[in-house]
């Protein structure tokens, strides 16, 4: 590891409870610029809720989140969100706008018009033809739509990319290709990325830091390498065991 830099994102004792249940139970965590962090856990472990406290789609019951050295509550909500790219499972392309208009929406909110050339460039980044800009979302396949979703998230040139189960609804081939694409964009633009997934294999292959959540708390904070070497405790290892067993059986079949 290099010398610890100032964190881009910091959670300070963040709690979120709904009535009797505690979705996030006091998480403290720092994420450095340039990190690709995967938040892994079973359904209901609180990973999605924790992610959404960053762009304030969820307001914490107590505790604070700091982004680039400032408490996010001190920033105007819309301004904060425009600095953060957000990609999520149901994609949420605006059905009444063309692909190009969807991608240009972030800059448009800031009063800027995104050039056609720039839209084509963003489409190219996610392996889509520039001509796609004139299409309507309902003419696209699921994979193409999520590619547009990623392009839209990058249009404002954000420092931070939040992804909530981004590839959950995609077929395995598209999922693999788009994951690789996102990883290379992460490196190319020096992004800081936080991705929520329930798929440990995806986390191990894409992230350079894996956080395992259970019952609203972070129970493991390891590199993929150390997880594969058995670190992180029982719950983390339970999650790692699944892809490992699959890999072993595939290797056996191939023999």
């Amino acid at each position: 590891m290099t010398a610890p830099s100032k964190p881009l994102l910091e959670f300070r004792n963040v709690r979120k409870s709904y009535d009797a249940t505690e979705a996030v139970a006091g998480v403290s965590l720092a994420i450095a610029p340039g990190e690709f962090v995967a938040l892994v856990g079973a359904s209901g472990s609180g990973k999605s809720t924790l992610l959404k406290t960053v762009n304030r789609l969820v307001e914490p019951t107590s505790g604070t989140v700091h982004f680039d050295g400032e408490s996010i509550e001190s920033l105007p909500l819309a301004a904060l969100r425009r600095r953060i790219g957000y990609v999520f499972q149901s994609i949420g392309l605006f059905p009444h706008m063309t692909v190009g208009e969807n991608i240009a929406i972030g800059p448009r909110l800031l009063g800027e018009k995104l050039e056609d050339g720039r839209i084509a460039q963003l489409l190219k980044l996610v392996d889509l033809e520039g001509a796609m800009a004139a299409r309507m979302p309902d003419e696209l396949s699921g994979g193409q739509r999520q590619r547009v979703g990623v392009a839209r998230a990058l249009a404002n040139e954000p420092q931070l990319l939040l992804m909530d189960e981004p590839f959950g609804a995609l077929d395995p081939i598209t999922r693999d290709a788009l994951g690789e694409r996102v990883l290379s964009l992460h490196s190319e633009f020096g992004l800081t990325t936080v991705m929520v997934t329930h798929d440990m294999a995806e986390a191990l292959l894409l992230a350079d830091r894996v956080l395992v959540m259970d019952g609203g708390a972070i129970v493991a904070d390891e590199t993929p390498h150390s997880l594969l070497e058995g670190a992180g405790g029982e719950i983390a290892q339970g999650l790692v065991a699944v892809p490992r067993a699959q890999a072993d059986r595939l290797a056996e079949l191939a023999r």
Binding site: N55, L57, L77, A78, A79, L80, R81, R82, Y86, F88, S90, I91, G92, L93, F94, P95, H96, I105, G106, L109, R152
Partner: protein, 514 residues
């Protein structure tokens, strides 16, 4: 067929008024419903309260809702001053807007609730503010559904607007009410065809806009919108392009005699160079207040009606005393001028077919009290609520097996077909002679006197020339002439129009042109 065509062609003014009233009511409905829907989408209790209120309004019959705005506006005069209109356009507009609220509100709230949550999350996620999200996402996605609600509201409103005739607002209801009164089906049909046609056209145009919004085709949207705007503009031109505010407005309650007398007065005024307009089909209480508040200029009313309903008197003096007290009361309370008696009386009386009266030996109302308990009594829609009826009932101790309301025209049919045994008839009605009916004697004098008198609104009565034009009418019309005129529009064959009947009545009464 030709009759209907010519009746339809004569409806231009009514159609224009109908279009303007409906368009204004829908516009006001939209202006209230949409902000309410936005608020409701953010606050579920508001949604429940607003939808609950709008549904409640729908349960009130349109006719009652229209009438309710008269006392409401009258009491609001305390706040807004005497200039606040209580009849005509304003109450009709308010009542119809309330009616239009529900479909627009319900569709707007439903459309908001059914928006894809993923799309809303994305709108928030890209950093839209409240207004940006509304303008860029929620409104465009809800627009087709809201438009469907506006379409429903438009069809309802255009239909219900025909009822605004009863509160003195000209509309396509005028020919319908006038035609129903005299069983002139050509007029009824013409009014119905015109309002149904208007509703269909509005529905088609708004449907085009809805389609344009759903398919995101601007040509359709703006084409439909343009056609609607053109239609409303055309109505504006017809309504305000030619007319002047100096028209003398003559009111008529909803029965034949009133329509004929209004035309008789109108024709005289036109001959004298006045421009006139008619407000037909007014309810009895509405009509009197309309003339005393100046909403209409001239009305023929009846002494007994004013005595019992407006002055709330229960005693029954002789006719000269009664008239003198009415003149005094009108002058004191509103400044309305009583021009004088027309010369005939249109009293309420209890009428039976001669055969039935002879067979049962009914001669007086007392006989009816003694032996008529098994009978059915019919009356016009207001008859049983009127103090005169209550006085007669209590004086003689009348009791019947059943009582039924009919429109005045159908009342006589009911007597003929046996659906009523005795009715509250009008003594100047031509059908009393034509149908061979007997008016039962009223030895106790429980029914008051009903001399027809001409009332002139306070400000209008300052026009001395107008009063001179009308003065020859005083004492000119006897009950025989009135009965004949009434029969000429009420009979089933060879019906005369109100205008024609009025001309013949003027001739018969020996009135010379002013």
């Amino acid at each position: 067929m030709n009759d209907i065509w010519s009746a339809l062609l004569g409806l231009g003014d009514k159609l224009a008024a109908h279009v303007l009233l409906s368009a204004a009511a829908i516009a006001l409905g939209i202006a209230v419903a949409l902000p309410l829907a936005i608020w409701a989408s953010r606050a579920p209790p508001v949604a429940r309260a607003a939808l609950g209120f709008a549904s409640l309004v729908q349960t009130i019959p349109a006719l009652a809702l229209l009438a309710l705005f008269f006392p409401i506006l009258l009491s609001l005069r305390a706040v807004f001053g005497e200039g606040l209109p209580t009849l005509g356009f304003l109450p009709a507009l308010l009542a119809l807007s309330l009616y239009a609220l529900l479909p627009i509100l319900r569709n707007a709230v439903t459309a908001q609730a059914n928006l894809d949550p993923g799309v809303i999350e994305a709108a928030d996620g890209v950093g839209m503010t409240f207004w940006q999200r509304l303008r860029l996402v929620e409104v465009p996605l809800s627009a087709p559904y809201i438009m469907a609600g506006i379409r429903t509201a438009a069809v309802w409103t255009i239909g219900a607007a025909t009822l605004s005739t009863t509160i003195g607002q000209p509309s396509l209801g005028d020919p319908i009410f006038a035609g129903l009164q005299t069983q002139n089906w050509v007029l009824v049909l013409a009014g119905c065809i015109a309002s149904a046609g208007l509703a269909l056209i509005a529905d088609a145009l708004l449907g085009t806009i809805e389609k344009g919004l759903a398919a995101r085709r601007r040509a359709l949207t703006f084409g439909g919108l343009g056609a609607v705007v053109l239609g409303v503009l055309a109505a504006l031109v017809v309504q305000f392009g030619s007319s002047d505010d100096d028209r003398i407005v003559i009111g008529a309650k909803g029965f034949s005699e009133q329509y004929i007398l209004a035309r008789l007065i109108g024709q005289r005024l036109e001959q004298a160079g006045y421009a006139v307009d008619y407000r037909d089909g007014l309810g009895s209480a509405v009509a009197h207040r309309a003339v005393s508040s100046g909403a209409i200029d001239i009305l023929v009313d009846y002494t007994g009606t004013i005595w019992a309903n407006e002055m709330e008197r229960t005693d029954n003096p002789d006719r000269d005393t009664m008239l003198a007290e009415i003149v005094d009361w009108e002058t004191r309370t509103s400044g309305t001028q009583v021009l004088g008696r027309l010369g005939f009386e249109n009293a309420y009386g209890l009428a039976m077919p001669r055969e039935k009266a002879t067979f049962g030996m009914f001669e007086t109302i007392g006989d009816l009290a003694a032996r008529g308990q098994g009978m059915t009594i019919g009356g016009d829609p207001e008859f049983f609520e009127r103090p005169e009826w209550i006085a007669v009932r209590d004086t003689y101790g009348l009791r019947f097996a059943a009582r039924r309301n009919f429109s005045p025209t159908f009342m006589y049919n009911a007597l003929r077909s046996g659906e009523a045994d005795v009715i509250g008839a009008y003594t100047s009605d031509g059908r009393i002679a034509a149908d061979d009916l007997v008016i039962l004697d009223d030895p106790e004098g429980a029914f008051p006197n009903y001399d027809a008198i001409v009332l002139v609104a306070p400000e209008t009565s300052e026009d001395a020339r107008l009063l001179e034009v009308l003065r020859p009418l005083v004492g000119a019309i006897d009950v025989e002439a009135m009965r004949e005129a009434n029969l000429s529009v009420d009979r089933e064959d060879n019906k005369l129009s109100f205008d024609e009947a009025a001309r013949r009545l003027a001739q018969c009464a020996g009135l010379e042109s002013p």
